[in-house]
Symmetry: C2
Subunit: 220 residues, 2 copies
């Protein structure tokens, strides 16, 4: 590989134009999840913001994290979520990827992104509505925030209070949710969407045996 491939160092990164640099580093680490966060402000206006940064933090108790960048439109979501303590996270499927992407546009605070982009909220037995068009909704409670001092981004940790799954056939009998049955998209970079296709499941790795495929379990 040495000599054949491309090799970039810090001096190259600094010389790049900012949009080039953003595309490069946003695509470097690999595929990301794509979810829409719904929150509500004190005037009752629903805010919807696309997130590429939902991350699993723990299963017991169930926790996830979100990264908020400084000075972006996501700040409305941050302020709402912090103030009310509740929000929902909604999986984005291929059918609504255009609308969910559009929700990142800079709308005024009094405008609901959901209405602006043509998506709908549905009220369930949770204070904040879910995205009607999503197959998988998660009800969140604010736990904590901590600053990442290296660049002033903020990590918010939230606990998972409830889950709505509108396609029961996507839940396998070992607890795994087949996101490909929900048509959930993945994203890389800032604007490039993918549809993942199942490759294989692998058995729990043991040091005294070779990797082996795991039977894809039955539907629940």
């Amino acid at each position: 590989m040495a000599g054949e491939g491309l090799h970039f160092k810090s001096a190259d990164f600094e010389a790049w134009e900012s949009r080039y640099r953003a595309n490069f580093f946003n695509s470097l680490g690999g595929y990301k999840s794509f979810n829409l966060l719904i929150s509500r402000n004190s005037e009752g206006v629903l805010n919807a913001a696309p997130f590429f940064s939902v991350q699993h933090i723990g299963s017991n108790p169930p926790l996830l994290s979100l990264i908020f960048r400084p000075h972006t439109v996501e700040r409305h979501s941050l302020e709402n979520f912090r103030a009310s303590g509740l929000a929902t996270i909604n999986a984005v499927s291929a059918e609504i990827v255009d609308q969910a992407h559009q929700a990142a546009a800079k709308y005024p605070r009094e405008v609901s992104e959901l209405e602006a982009v043509g998506l709908n909220a549905v009220q369930r037995d949770f204070s904040i509505p879910f995205l009607k068009e999503s197959h998988l909704g998660i009800g969140l409670q604010w736990v904590s925030e901590q600053k990442i001092h290296a660049n002033n981004t903020l990590m918010v940790v939230a606990s998972i209070l409830e889950v709505h799954l509108n396609k029961p056939e996507a839940l396998l009998n070992d607890g795994f949710i087949e996101q490909h049955r929900l048509n959930t998209v993945s994203v890389n970079g800032l604007d490039t969407y993918y549809l993942p296709k199942p490759l294989k499941r692998l058995a729990y790795p043991e040091s005294n045996s070779k990797p082996k495929e795991k039977a894809w379990p039955k539907k629940n």
Copy 2:
């Protein structure tokens, strides 16, 4: 959706068997990236650990984060990375997904997972080797660690010192890296691997216009 789909609450989560719960919550947030972290201990033994938690934190300066769970084999990587200040992150492609998954097995500290699973290190002009079989390697420098108090996981922030890409054709002229040309896999849950297929690129969203597709730019 109400009444048709599945609805789970905290009491359900607590009643689940632990492996079911782990599968459920690890697959809930959507698709994740899959990378192998290589570090070196003070005796010179290379450690390799699979990570589903590489996350983009910023582009200028270029930063990423890794989540380390308490009491897992990843702790060898954590100790090595913390002590030496350097590590590499290597994209996992479909060709080596079995070996990369196997690297999560519990090997003794004096055993190099790379040798144990049949992968190879390649030394470049960086203190820590890269994964020879990977098409995309990232040289990292330790920046900081912070505990996530909700469950004692640790987030490590690292800065990106260099990047090696052995397929120049995967880098578009706007800086975006087409991971699908590298055959990079995505993972969901704990053991289920996917190959993402390109769906679409969307233009930067503006509040006064409709979502539109972006031309897929030329190769670099």
